[in-house]
């Protein structure tokens, strides 16, 4: 049964479910792929991702499934005696225990938990743990975790979040520069915007989502923001320098 291994696809190539991406045991199936009798096939309609011997496929659509360590944006849907239930834009609800919500001692007999988080509050929060049956717990014990007050929320396809953030946050910085908005992006596809030009920031985010699979994205987004953006006084300076 000695068979020569070969890779049949290129990085970022579009594949459909059932497409053979690699043959032989030299390669390993990553997420979005499965092995069938020596062949590695795609599970999803998406783009190929290569890392050493591991072949994966990134989906172009689909729901968010929580992973430990993810920073997400969630909204509080229910308040119980010692925990909160949060909507994390996923088929699964998540739980925030009192001990993970605050470092201080809380006497539940005397304290109203809604003074910490109330139903309807929106928070940037970290996924603490996800069990095998997708029982999800969250924690506020993270330097980035905070309550998000006012602003607006929008939903994008979770698999496209890395494109919205860009390489080392470059895409977010671009939008911040031209719109002057505060932007927080959760791994679950929720985006929070706050600032004077929220509409343009939202438009840019939707453009990135719609064209994430086409190369040359940064240039197109920059062009759109340049044409329609009104940079804040302090952010206008670098733009002029770049033009001169």
């Amino acid at each position: 049964m000695e068979k020569k291994s070969e890779l049949l696809v290129k990085e970022k190539q579009l594949v459909a479910p059932g497409d053979v991406v690699a043959r032989g045991l030299e390669y390993l199936p990553g997420s979005g792929c499965y092995r069938k009798t020596g062949d590695i096939k795609s599970k999803l309609l998406g783009l190929v991702r290569l890392k050493d011997r591991v072949v994966g496929v990134t989906p172009l659509a689909g729901v968010y499934i929580p992973k430990p360590g993810d920073g997400i944006i969630a909204s509080v849907t229910d308040l119980q005696s010692t925990f909160w239930i949060l909507d994390i834009n996923s088929p699964y609800d998540a739980i925030l225990q009192l001990g993970e919500a605050t470092a201080e001692y809380v006497d539940t007999a005397k304290t109203d938990l809604s003074s910490f988080f109330d139903v309807g509050d929106v928070v940037y929060i970290k996924v603490l743990n996800v069990s095998h049956s997708k029982h999800t717990t969250l924690t506020m014990n993270d330097y980035r975790a905070k309550k998000l007050i006012a602003g607006r929320l929008m939903k994008v396809t979770p698999s496209k979040v890395p494109r919205i953030i860009g390489k080392e946050g470059s895409m977010i910085e671009l939008i911040k520069k031209y719109t002057g908005c505060h932007i927080v992006v959760g791994q679950n596809g929720m985006v929070w915007l706050k600032g004077s030009n929220e509409a343009l920031a939202a438009k840019a985010v939707l453009k990135i989502e719609g064209e994430a699979h086409i190369s040359g994205l940064t240039d197109r987004v920059t062009a759109m923001l340049k044409a329609e953006g009104t940079p804040e006084p302090e952010t206008a300076q670098p733009e002029e320098e770049g033009g001169a």
């Binding site: 579009l14 479910p17 059932g18 599970k43 609800d93 049956s133 698999s159």
Partner: protein, 243 residues
């Protein structure tokens, strides 16, 4: 067993009533991503038979007592629009639609990685907009494309086709009078245009040899449908690049 209104012959000089050869499809059309509001959607048509499918989910399963702890619950809904046939159909569920919903769900449960989304529900809605035989095949073809569009992990795409027997000849993609007055109608679905069958429904009486021949023809037919489905899925994301 002549029925009222039956044409004298279904095959004349090797050609069928609509002018097709015995092993020729009606024009097929497949499109993915037709309903932006649903997570995944597709249309598939064999000539006049048009099916539209939309996928919702995976989403929370309610009531909770019916959720399955280790896998997603696949729920398929096949409906035929009242205006799909020449005589107005009664809208909503029927004995026939319940049966087709079930066979489609069983066919698709063979390819979906149901265990990837425990405790959830996955809904597939199929609507027949116009019916001229092979509606379950068109619905299944549309549904499997819609699932791929929704980003649902699947082993492969399911392709389906009908084969029949009319005037003693075996015909591919049964339509019109062949369905109403033909001898046999066989609906077949395979995985990835290969050898694995996930749907096999037949009415009528045939010999074993004929049945084997029909399966062989159906298998080749499914491979043709599979190519169409793949092309439509690829077009979903490559069409925008060229603009």
């Amino acid at each position: 067993m002549a029925k009222a209104g039956a044409p004298e012959k279904l095959i004349i000089h090797g050609k069928r009533l609509d002018g097709r050869k015995l092993d020729e499809f009606r024009p097929m059309k497949a499109e993915v991503g037709v309903i932006p509001r649903s997570e995944g959607s597709a249309t598939f048509s064999f000539g006049e038979t048009k099916a539209l499918a939309g996928v919702q989910g995976p989403r929370p399963m309610h009531p909770k007592g019916l959720q399955e702890p280790t896998r997603t619950k696949l729920r398929c809904y096949y409906f035929m629009a009242p205006f799909a046939t020449s005589e107005r159909g009664r809208p909503g569920r029927s004995r026939r639609s319940t049966e087709i919903s079930m066979v489609v769900a069983e066919a698709l449960s063979n390819v979906i990685f149901l265990e990837d989304y425990p405790k959830t529900a996955l809904d597939i809605f199929m609507e027949i907009l116009q019916a001229n035989a092979s509606t379950r095949c068109a619905a299944l073809n549309a549904a499997s494309m819609a699932l791929a569009d929704a980003g649902i992990p699947m082993r492969d795409i399911v392709s389906s086709v009908s084969v029949g027997k009319a005037d003693g000849e075996i015909v591919l993609d049964v339509a019109g009078a062949e369905d109403n007055f033909g001898d046999v109608d066989l609906a077949v679905a395979t995985v990835g245009g290969g050898d694995a069958f996930v749907l096999l429904q037949m009415d009528g009486i045939i010999t074993m040899e004929e049945f084997k021949k029909m399966l062989e023809i159906a298998k080749h037919g499914c491979a043709t449908v599979y190519a169409q489905q793949k092309a439509a899925l690829m077009k979903r994301y490559t069409a925008e690049v060229s603009e």
